[in-house]
Symmetry: C2
Subunit: 439 residues, 2 copies
């Protein structure tokens, strides 16, 4: 007779009563499992936001880092300042100068990628129930942070010129009328993720004015600003307003993401709080990573490298737009981004991008359904297509597969009068994030 005491099944979560309330906002997406499949080599992934860094000069990086270890190894491998390496912060101000920002290195905090900057800013500003205004759609990774800190996200509409000022005014008015507190506007003004659009110059002044009037801080997230295809870097919001803007930057797209070096530029008192938050979160960002990035910037024509990246991404953008023009049903709509990584595509009426995803993955092409980029369940008829990582040939092949899936879907709909039933994926429960936006 077996008298072993009953033990819970190892996959059963016996800790479920003990988690913090905020973990309710930290759930794995149902489509996550699908993305594990989508990472197989035979699938063309138009889903992920991974930069293509194959053009980086490994010899330059290798010798810069070898010299770093030989000459400053004991410093690079030691703990450092919670705010980040001073020389790197100086270089960061030079990078930001390309967008018209005049800043002091003292007001820069280095972060573990700009994702951590979003996390730390949210940590110091958001109490549960506070409101963050976001564009509709918005970056999935930021929405995940806001949710984890129990913020309420209110979306404001965009069009081809970016965030619509009147929509922002209405969003602010509706939140104020509800008696809630808006802590900040989270915006990606350049080559938007996922919408691909850029905020026009005229609107920048207007957005700054609206936020100043309503005492709404602006969180300007700008990972793609230097990756414009057809023009010079655009003047940042922060360039015209130092007191009401926290600016976030990153080396993940202009150099390489594997070092996880991003930053926040913040008004001085906010910067002080961010450093305290960073010390609590990590003691200090990785000294070795920071000095490696700094050595790269010192030893290489990094602006020339960015120019090469821009040309490579422009070629891929062209490949995607050409393929969409050639192959997608006429009832689809998409924009032509002039920088960054993403095209936002809207399907014909009645086709659900999320319901279609399992069939697309079966046909060996992946994308991110639009619902991932909304906190409120919208976006089901849209999808984000990334042109950053696959080669132009693979992009064309991916679009071909996608067009085939979509045509089959439209045929089914014409026959049965509704979107085909979902296969292998449960009903919609809100948040669709693939997890890390990297799949």
């Amino acid at each position: 007779m077996d008298i072993t005491p009953a033990r819970p099944h190892p996959r059963l979560d016996t800790y479920v009563d003990r988690y913090a309330a905020r973990t309710a906002g930290m759930t794995a997406s149902e489509i996550r499992a699908l993305f594990a499949v989508a990472s197989r080599p035979e699938v063309v992934s138009l889903a992920g936001g991974m930069p293509n860094i194959s053009g980086l000069p490994l010899d330059v990086v290798g010798s810069a880092i070898s010299d770093l270890i030989a000459q400053q190894g004991p410093i690079a491998m030691q703990y450092g300042s919670g705010q980040g390496v001073p020389e790197l912060r100086e270089q960061i101000t030079e990078v930001m100068r390309l967008e018209g920002i005049e800043a002091h290195p003292d007001d820069v905090v280095v972060t573990v990628g700009s994702q951590q900057a979003v996390d730390l800013v949210t940590r110091i500003f958001i109490d549960p129930g506070d409101v963050v205004i976001c564009e509709a759609p918005s970056y999935v990774g930021a929405l995940g942070v806001f949710k984890a800190y129990q913020a309420e996200v209110v979306h404001a509409e965009m069009d081809s010129d970016g965030l619509v000022p009147e929509a922002l005014r209405q969003a602010i008015a509706s939140v104020e009328a509800a008696g809630k507190t808006i802590k900040f506007l989270y915006t990606i003004p350049n080559f938007h993720n996922p919408a691909g659009v850029t905020l026009s110059a005229a609107r920048r002044t207007e957005i700054l004015d609206i936020c100043r009037q309503h005492n709404v801080l602006i969180l300007e997230d700008n990972p793609y600003g230097l990756l414009g295809f057809d023009r010079e870097p655009i003047r940042a919001l922060r360039a015209d307003e130092a007191e009401n803007v926290i600016y976030l930057g990153s080396f993940s797209k202009t150099f390489a993401p594997g070092f996880r070096v991003g930053w926040a530029l913040a008004p001085h008192p906010v910067r002080e709080k961010l450093v305290l938050a960073q010390e609590s979160a990590t003691l200090c960002p990785p000294q070795f990573s920071q000095m490696a990035v700094s050595a790269y910037l010192s030893n290489h024509d990094w602006q020339g490298q960015i120019k090469q990246f821009r040309e490579m991404y422009r070629e891929r953008r062209d490949a995607m737009i050409d393929a969409l023009d050639d192959m997608m049903p006429a009832s689809c709509r998409w924009n032509v981004p002039d920088g960054g990584f993403y095209v936002w595509l809207t399907l014909p009426p009645g086709i659900d991008a999320k319901a279609m995803l399992p069939r697309a993955v079966t046909a060996r092409v992946a994308y991110v359904p639009g619902t991932a980029f909304f906190a409120d369940g919208f976006g089901s008829s849209s999808m984000r297509l990334s042109f950053c990582y696959p080669t132009p040939e693979r992009i064309r092949e991916g679009v071909r597969r996608l067009a085939g899936v979509l045509e089959a879907e439209m045929e089914l709909r014409a026959t049965f009068g509704a979107s085909a039933p979902e296969r292998g994926i449960g009903p919609y429960h809100g948040y669709d994030a693939p997890g890390t936006d990297l799949s």
Copy 2:
């Protein structure tokens, strides 16, 4: 006439009404400014917890990282998994095997130093007002995290055998009687920071039993476990209890802190939550750092290196204990740690370590006052002395200076009947952390 509109002084915090409530727990210590002074080269700092990594073979590290860039550069510089590099997680299980832990790499989450592991565990378990039981004293950096998440810290006494089981029972009973929720016990069983003591084998079983009975999770923080001077690695709490223990480890003291690579080993459902939290916090820990540490472990006799570290730290421990024996007033008490970085010293009755600190820094020696290691204002008659970073000669000189300051203080006290007044530092307001424990 000047009609410029009045602008707030740039140092005035105009954001003060907008911060999250948790920022009240994220304050800079008053003694922080003093530590900026203490970092001057003429000051012997017995304050900081920086490891001495001067013995690391830079040539080995350099060539391992050069090979990494040449052979796997595009992977090392790319985004990675939120859970961490699989090969490194495999190696981490080998490191933990030295302490009797049998674990699967699937249950390991790589973090940005083990500080981030404390942050993420706290993030997923603590709601404001939840209780964390900590040893008295406890690690300043962990207390800072608990405070930032608005936890209530309840201390339980230690003696020379570590945490006292009866004190833990009483702490649990008092919290339960108050109707509050204990989320976990935070404990540093080996070569405690700051107390220098180690939990005895007999007590380990008892502590595990108490926590299991009361449904209190154990957060076992073990950065120093492999740095014992006089014995083999000690069996971890986690080695005898997989379901109720989250184990934290770090390469900061056994290799180098500049890569910021630590980890958490957690029961499977908790591990899943930690990965979600990590993705939200950073997308993924730095791939380059992780692969660099992995390459070091693969290419070097890392256990031999740890042996060298142990011998070097033992020599410094001996230098400190000898100097204390030779020079400190007989009315002081301290322990003789058999591993790690720290000696905990208690001053003669009536002498306040914090009040004395400005005078010590003037005499060119620094330490951390005991109050930094308590959430409740205790510890004023104690201090933490670190022997990890200065050379034996500097340690001896530091103790000489400290003994001089203390003798002057005792003389003043004998003359005036009370501790000398503080100079240049405000009144005590609770939390004394020097910020990052690294000064």
